[in-house]
Structure formats: structure tokens, C-alpha cells
Amino acid sequence: MVFVVLSACVDVMDRSCIEVCPVDCIYEGGRKLYINPTECIDCAACEPVCPVTAISDLIEVPESELEFADDNRSFFEAILEGRDAPLGKPGGARDVGPIGVDTPLVRDAAAPQ
């Protein structure tokens, strides 16, 4: 199992989670952060530091958020806008830098109230 960033992160991107991730697997999109499911080691360091409780263990995700949970994977497996290949497994967010674009789900998400 892995951890996932859910919709509460949209337009917030506090980034506290990035600082504590021991494997640097939390990547920055345009409006939201995404956890790389193939790089996450399931350590749970990120979950308690998120100020908007946007991070959850995949098995604990409420039904209303399943789409956003699954979308973490899409960020790495689908080809994002302006790119010609999926991100895949870059091996560390810090060396890649902010990606700057989002999945269609996040791009088109309503701004949080």
C-alpha cells in the first residue's frame, strides 16, 4: 500500500510533506502535489504533517476521494500536457524540479471554497 495526496491539496500546496519524505517521492504539479506510487515506501511520514489533511493511506481513502487517490498514479503514468512521455519513475522530485502541469482531473477541478 502507499500514501496518496487528495483533493484538499489543490491550490494549497503547502509542501511540508516534501520536506519530510525520506525518498523524495512527492512531486509538484501546477495546482497540487502528487505521490509517486512506485517510489513511495509507505512510511507515513507525510500524513501527519499536512496542514489540510490532504494525505491518506490508500486503504483509508473515503469513497468520495477515490478518484483523486487514483489520480496520483495517472500523474506518473499518463502523458501530461506539453510532454511527450510519462514521468514514470524519475527517482527523486528534487532533481526533477516542479513539473508545473496537472492531470486533467486536477486542472479542471473547482477551486476550493
Binding site: V20, C21, P22, I41, D42, C43, D57, G92
Partner: protein, 454 residues
């Protein structure tokens, strides 16, 4: 991550002409030391070198010798940490016990700055009668035993059905899980073979977790608790009366999640032969026994003014009540607080010499998860680099390599470690497992000092 060729094989020769402007040493090759090494390389503007020195022939500290063997995904953090050791600027020097074979002063003379990342190597005690009986142990003894630590000379024979663990942190849950889960499930881990055989023969079927306070004060995390209650063929029991009434207080997310899991367990069936019992509000009073442990006397203090004593019959008592930091040569230690006073990782010298630096558990005390060390390393490294820019550091006046040669100390390099790594994989294959650890000094040194070409 399988993409680049194993650089460690070629790098030592590349380093022959390496002439950095600034030389750093990090003592301790666990996560906090390695994150510090990484930050030194990433943040320094000058050309730097970082020697990561460890007492043991193998790197990775508690990832190798603390994280439980069945936590394979957490152990995979090694693929991140190894990239730090494979940096051109970083060199691993294992098998060097700073403070014993090399003095802190001698080390300081060889570097612009030294960062200590040696963790919390001491055990807290309970101070109750019988604590020193055979069969009563610090958690660390069991952890080092099942982790294949080369300094572990313990041999645990579990020929009784019940054991007790005192404490309510993740270490307590680790011990409980390793002792209670069906041992066949551990064959996929790197656990040393003699340890696995002892666990396969173990008679333990009941693990009693004894916590002085209530579950709302427990330090373990929901993730670890969830894993324990989710074990196949193991029942986990807790008394409903030990749990606080619902929504009684404003608790943290972790506490609420723990309570939710424990509430479910309070109503769960206990149909399995293998069982874990949580005893909350239970104060350990004495370890009982004549020549060895026969029981743990506890005082149930749930109902104020109505305390009652009982003895849980057990053959072993493990105290998982915390690790502690100890004094280190040249670093002023505050015995009352059990810590080394520092300012953002900088430890001023009383004699006015160059400051030294600390990071990780040595700096913060034994708390936090592996990831906590990343932000912590940033803070310490920023302090080092600020002092470097301010001209507060003394340039090295001696060569560490020459010193080692004079003292006839042979370090285990990264290439040597790769040899150990390879030997462990090979040993695993021979036993039909992925990896089996080399757990004895002679084996580690024989392989590690011949650069893997044993």
C-alpha cells in the same frame, strides 16, 4: 534504482586526483548522517568532499539494524540512501570507531568540519526490582539479535508460551509482531538464519504489551497498530474498559485513529492460538523470578483509588521504553536533560576551538521517523555552511588517510560494502531466500576488506 552501473566499483580510483577545497566528515552512516552528507554536497558552493565514517563495516544504521526485517518496503529506502554514497564527493569509511581507535581531536584536525550523527545508543531503564534477571532485556537486545547486528551475542530461546513487552511505542509493536507472527512468514526477509531457526522453534503464543498510561497516551502510530491487528492467524485483544469514552477529549489524528482501531479490537473475537494482549493503565512493579524471569508484576491503576496487583506469568520481559543519547568526546553533555546542548545543530566548544555539529537522534533525542532527518539535516548543514562562510572554521592540518595508515586501520569502503551486499544476496540464494545477512564481525571484515573479491 537499476539505471546507472554500479559506480562504487570504479570510483575509488577516480578519487585519486580528487582535490576538494573543503573537507567534511560525518560520523555515522545512518539516515541522518547520509542526509547530512547529501545536503553538504548539494548546498555547498565550494568543491567539497564528505567522508562518511561508521563504526560498523556496513552503512545505513538503523535502516539495516533497527527497522524490523518484515518491514521490507521501509527497508527499500536503501535505494535512495545508496545514491548518496554513490556521489563522487562522498566516500564511505566503515570499520572506524571514532572515540576509540581515532580520537575526536585527531579527526577534527583532518577536516574543516565534523558532523556527528551517532544516534541514541543507550537504553532507558525502569528502575524496578528484578530488572537485571536473566530473561529481562532492553528492546535493543532483541532488535539487534533479529537484525543480525555484529555486536549482538544474544541467543534467545523461547521455550515458554508467554512474554511481556513494556512500552507503547512502535518498537514495542515491532517486538510483539516479530515474536507472535507465524515465523514461516519471516523466511522472505533478511533475518539471520540462526535467528530464524530460533523463531521457528519458538513456543511463544501470547505477547503481553504493558503500558503505564492509557491508549490515548500511546506513542505507536496507526499504521503500525493496523499492521499488528491485521496479522493473519493472530488475535489482538484489548479491554473495552481501558479505552476512553468516545470523543472525550480533543486528540490528535494519530490518537483518534489508534482509538478507532482499538475499539474495533475490543469487540473482536479472539479465536486464534497466537494472541497479543494490550494492558493499558498497568504499571510494572517488579520482574519476578528466582534465577530467571518467571513473571511480571503489574499494578492496574485504571480506577483511581482502586489499584490492584497481578502477576503475568512470562519467561521474558522486554522493556521498550525508549533509547537515550549519551556523552560524546568533546561535546558538552547535559546529563539532566540527557542531551547535547546545541544551536541549530552547532555545538560550541568550551575551549574556544572550532564548533562541532550534530544531527539526527543525537541532536533531537530518539524521536521522529526516518523522514524527519531530512529537514533536520538541512538545519545542521546550513549552520555548518554559515560558519564556513563566516571564516569560523579551521582548515584541516592533517590527512585522515595518512592517519589511518599510521594507525594501521583499514576502512571498509563503499566497494567493500558492495562486496558484503553481494555476499549476502548469494548466501540468501543458497538458502532459497532473497538475502541473508552476514551477522558476524569476521565475515563482514573478511568480505568487506577485500573489496568484495573474497
Amino acid at each position: 534504482m537499476g539505471s546507472a552501473p554500479a559506480k562504487g566499483d570504479v570510483r575509488p580510483s577516480n578519487r585519486q586526483n580528487w582535490s576538494p577545497n573543503v573537507r567534511f566528515a560525518v560520523v555515522g552512516a545512518g539516515p541522518s548522517g547520509l542526509y547530512a552528507a547529501d545536503e553538504l554536497v548539494r548546498r555547498a558552493t565550494a568543491q567539497v568532499s564528505v567522508d562518511v565514517i561508521d563504526r560498523l563495516p556496513a552503512p545505513y544504521g538503523l535502516v539495516r539494524y533497527g527497522v524490523a526485517p518484515d518491514h521490507l518496503t521501509i527497508k527499500s529506502i536503501v535505494s535512495t540512501l545508496r545514491k548518496i554514497l554513490e556521489r563522487d564527493e562522498v566516500r564511505l569509511l566503515g570499520n572506524i570507531d571514532v572515540g576509540r581507535v581515532v580520537s575526536a581531536d585527531a579527526l577534527a584536525r583532518c577536516y574543516d568540519a565534523v558532523i556527528y550523527a551517532t544516534g541514541a545508543p543507550l537504553d532507558k531503564h525502569l528502575g524496578i526490582p528484578g530488572e537485571e534477571l536473566p530473561g529481562s532485556h532492553a528492546a535493543r537486545e532483541l532488535v539487534e539479535w533479529y537484525s543480525g547486528h555484529p555486536d549482538s551475542y544474544s541467543d534467545f530461546v523461547f521455550d515458554n508460551t508467554a512474554v511481556a513487552i513494556i512500552g507503547s511505542g512502535n518498537v514495542a509493536l515491532d517486538l510483539a509482531r516479530i515474536l507472535v507472527r507465524p515465523p514461516e512468514e519471516l523466511t522472505g526477509t533478511d533475518i539471520p538464519d540462526p535467528v530464524l531457526r530460533r523463531l521457528l522453534d519458538s513456543e511463544v503464543r501470547e505477547v503481553h504489551i504493558v503500558a503505564r498510561r492509557g491508549p490515548e497516551a500511546a506513542k505507536f502510530t496507526p499504521k503500525e497498530l493496523r499492521e499488528l491487528v491485521g496479522l493473519d492467524r493472530v488475535s489482538v485483544a484489548v479491554e473495552a474498559a481501558d479505552l476512553p469514552a468516545e470523543q472525550q477529549f480533543d486528540a490528535s489524528r494519530n490518537v483518534l485513529a489508534n482509538l478507532a482501531i482499538l475499539r474495533r479490537q475490543a469487540c473482536a473475537e479472539n479465536s486464534h492460538e497466537r494472541r497479543v494482549f494490550f494492558h493499558f493503565h498497568a504499571r510494572p512493579i517488579a520482574v519476578e523470578g528466582n534465577v530467571r524471569v518467571e513473571g511480571l508484576r503489574i499494578e492496574r491503576s485504571r480506577d483511581v483509588g482502586n489499584a490492584s496487583e497481578t502477576v503475568i506469568p512470562v519467561s521474558h520481559v522486554f522493556r521498550a521504553v525508549g533509547y537515550a543519547v549519551g556523552p560524546i568526546e568533546n561535546l558538552a553533555f547535559d546529563p539532566d536533560r540527557g542531551l547535547i546542548p546545541h544551536e541549530r545543530g552547532r555545538v560550541a566548544r568550551e575551549d574556544g576551538g572550532s564548533p562541532q555539529y550534530i544531527v539526527g537522534w543525537l541532536k533531537r533525542g530518539p524521536s521522529g521517523v526516518i523522514g524527519t532527518n531530512r529537514a533536520d539535516a538541512v538545519e545542521t548543514v546550513e549552520a555548518v555552511l554559515a560558519d564556513l562562510r563566516a571564516g569560523a572554521l579551521q582548515a584541516p592540518v592533517a590527512s585522515f588517510d595518512k592517519l589511518l595508515a599510521e594507525l594501521e586501520i583499514r576502512p571498509v569502503t563503499y566497494a567493500g560494502w558492495l562486496g558484503i551486499d553481494e555476499a549476502e544476496l548469494e548466501r540468501g540464494q543458497n538458502l532459497g531466500r532473497d538475502r541473508v545477512k552476514l551477522h558476524e564481525w569476521p565475515d563482514l571484515l573478511r568480505v568487506g576488506l577485500t573489496n568484495g573479491k573474497a
